[in-house]
């Protein structure tokens, strides 16, 4: 009897230890983000986390500084164009490969995913002389096109998954009742995949907003995005305004994530009912 109780206890200790290690590691993963947000509220000039007094002075500085605000505006422009670009490209391919049979479907799906596996610096280095020759260097469109290479595969996967879940009988029935293809798309396909479209769009926005290497290579001072404005500050000076800028980006990202979760939940409930 005694050894068994010992086993039970050691099993319990093991389980508790496992939980502490597991959740501890997860906390360590989030620690840099949490610490940056905490520091952004410091009232002083030093990079010390505020304990007694919290202050919004660095946020005030961020929102009144033309350079940072311009960075934020540029980021929004680029992210907006990336959303449009990746919905047109990724969404189009998703519709084509799920609705039509043509030669090279596999090849096309692979080609769409390929940019994800090329190192960011190589892709950016390849695009630099290209946009330079085209006279697109220093335009927001060029950065957005670069970002679309990475958000297109994500949008493609999300929308393809939604289209594969869609009951083909619905479309067949509509066609049997004499609906034109465009009507079928507008009245049946579009409403069903709408949440996936929104999720894909938000993902593309988040990817573009936080992307840095492409922005470093392709943007000039006039169009630099927020991460590019942060960059020299990390190399030469460490001021709390970077923490405030980082927190602003984190808030926007978290807002996007919250929206995605909300839409996915809607999607699941719609599927159940």
């Amino acid at each position: 009897m005694k050894p068994k109780r010992f086993n039970l206890e050691s099993g319990l200790v093991f389980a508790i230890g496992q939980n502490i290690l597991g959740f501890g590691l997860l906390l360590v993963l989030l620690l840099p983000l949490i610490y940056v947000i905490w520091i952004s509220f410091t009232p002083g000039e030093l990079l010390q986390p505020p304990t007694g007094q919290w202050s919004l002075r660095w946020y005030q500085l961020f929102f009144t500084s033309p350079q940072w605000i311009q960075g934020l505006i540029n980021s929004f422009w680029v992210a907006g164009m990336t959303v449009i670009g990746s919905l047109l490209t990724g969404g189009g391919v998703a519709l084509a490969v799920t609705r039509y049979h043509f030669r090279g479907v596999q090849l096309l799906s692979g080609a769409v995913l390929l940019p994800l596996f090329v190192p960011a610096v190589v892709l950016a280095m390849a695009l630099l002389p290209f946009v330079h020759i085209l006279g697109l260097w220093g335009t927001r469109v060029s950065v957005a096109a670069g970002h679309s290479l990475w958000s297109m595969p994500v949008v493609f996967l999300v929308i393809r998954a939604a289209l594969e879940d869609l009951d083909p009988d619905l479309e067949h029935a509509a066609r049997g009742l004499g609906a034109a293809p465009i009507t079928i798309f507008r009245r049946i396909t579009l409403p069903v995949i709408a949440p996936a479209l929104v999720v894909g769009a938000i993902m593309a926005f988040i990817i573009s907003l936080n992307e840095f290497v492409m922005a470093l290579f392709l943007s000039t001072p006039a169009i630099e995005t927020l991460p590019k404005v942060i960059w020299p500050n990390l190399r030469y000076t460490l001021t709390p305004i970077v923490a405030a800028a980082s927190s602003v980006m984190m808030v926007l990202t978290l807002l996007g994530v919250a929206l995605i979760i909300w839409f996915l939940r809607g999607l699941r409930e719609a599927k159940l009912s």
Binding site: A120, P129, N210, V213
Partner: protein, 299 residues
């Protein structure tokens, strides 16, 4: 009639894939080809800063950029360092990610979702923000040094970044989410009744893991290793911002050659070399996996 229908379907499909084709051909295939071409140009001015001249001399064909690379001791040093660092970061990532994935996979659905969200969030965040957080945490006046000082474990702050340690920490943070996602997906695919069955037949928890779970997770593990290696070989932000001049990777040098030396042919040649290195590493890796499998079959 049938022919017409076939043609119209193809036309619709073509219209749908057209934007993606334009993006891929214009902003992926063409630039990659141009990258090869740029690496064959003569460099810009000799001043080292290219002021007044271009970033390369148009219309020239030369292998100069590659000759300079291959005869440059510095290039071989950073190439070796890039590969070693990539392998190092991959090993550290796997050693941490595998146990964590096992842990996450065993949670109840609710906790699993929360844990996965915690893993993915740093991936969605800006890599610079994570690097900045690590800089702050590891700095001389940062909380880790303060804690160690308060515990009297050290008498002077440790230098935790601007060295190899910082680079590995940063690199691991940035590729960790991919690895965990792949591993959790792989572990989820394993039949959940196998381990209880093994335990019922008298296997210890350790034996059940080692003889059932681990072998079945090997395909996922090898995919996770490959992905981690691909991303670790491209390490850029972490060596740049958490390393010292001793920790320069190929990716960092591409940026420096392009923007500080304004030598685009050299930057392009290094980018090509990086693709070749990546290809060689992937090939070596898949050969070793295949031969291990053959060996297992023989044994």
């Amino acid at each position: 009639m049938k022919l017409y229908k076939l043609a119209s379907i193809n036309l619709a499909a073509l219209l749908l894939i057209m934007p993606a084709l334009i993006l891929l051909i214009c902003f992926f295939v063409a630039p990659m080809i141009l990258l090869g071409r740029v690496s064959l140009y003569e460099g810009g001015g000799n001043s080292g800063f290219g002021i007044g001249t271009g970033f390369y001399t148009p219309g020239t064909w030369t292998l100069n950029a590659y000759f300079t690379l291959f005869t440059d001791q510095y290039f071989w040093e950073i190439l070796t360092f890039t590969v070693m660092l990539g392998i190092g970061i991959t090993v550290v990532t796997l050693l941490l990610a595998y146990p964590l994935s096992l842990f996450i996979q065993k949670r109840t659905p609710r906790w699993k979702a929360i844990a996965l969200a915690a893993v993915i969030l740093p991936k969605l965040a800006n890599p610079l923000v994570i690097i900045y957080g690590i800089q702050l945490l590891l700095s001389n006046s940062g909380p880790i040094n303060q804690l160690l000082l308060a515990l009297r474990l050290i008498s002077e702050p440790l230098t935790l970044f601007h060295n190899l340690f910082g680079v590995v920490v940063g690199g691991t943070y940035l590729i960790f989410p991919y690895t965990v996602l792949v591993l959790v997906t792989a572990l989820d695919r394993i039949d959940a009744t196998l381990v209880p069955a093994a335990r019922g037949l008298g296997a210890t928890a350790w034996a059940a893991f080692w003889r059932v779970t681990f072998p079945l997770s090997l395909p996922g593990l090898s995919l996770a290793t490959l992905l981690s290696l691909i991303f670790a070989l491209g390490a850029f932000e972490s060596p740049y911002l958490l390393g010292s001049p001793q920790e320069i990777t190929l990716a960092v040098d591409i940026q420096k050659q392009t923007f500080e030396n304004l030598n685009w042919p050299r930057g392009a040649a290094e980018a090509i070399m990086m693709l070749i290195t990546l290809g060689v590493c992937i090939a070596l890796y898949s050969i070793s996996i295949r031969s291990t499998k053959r060996l297992q079959r023989v044994v």
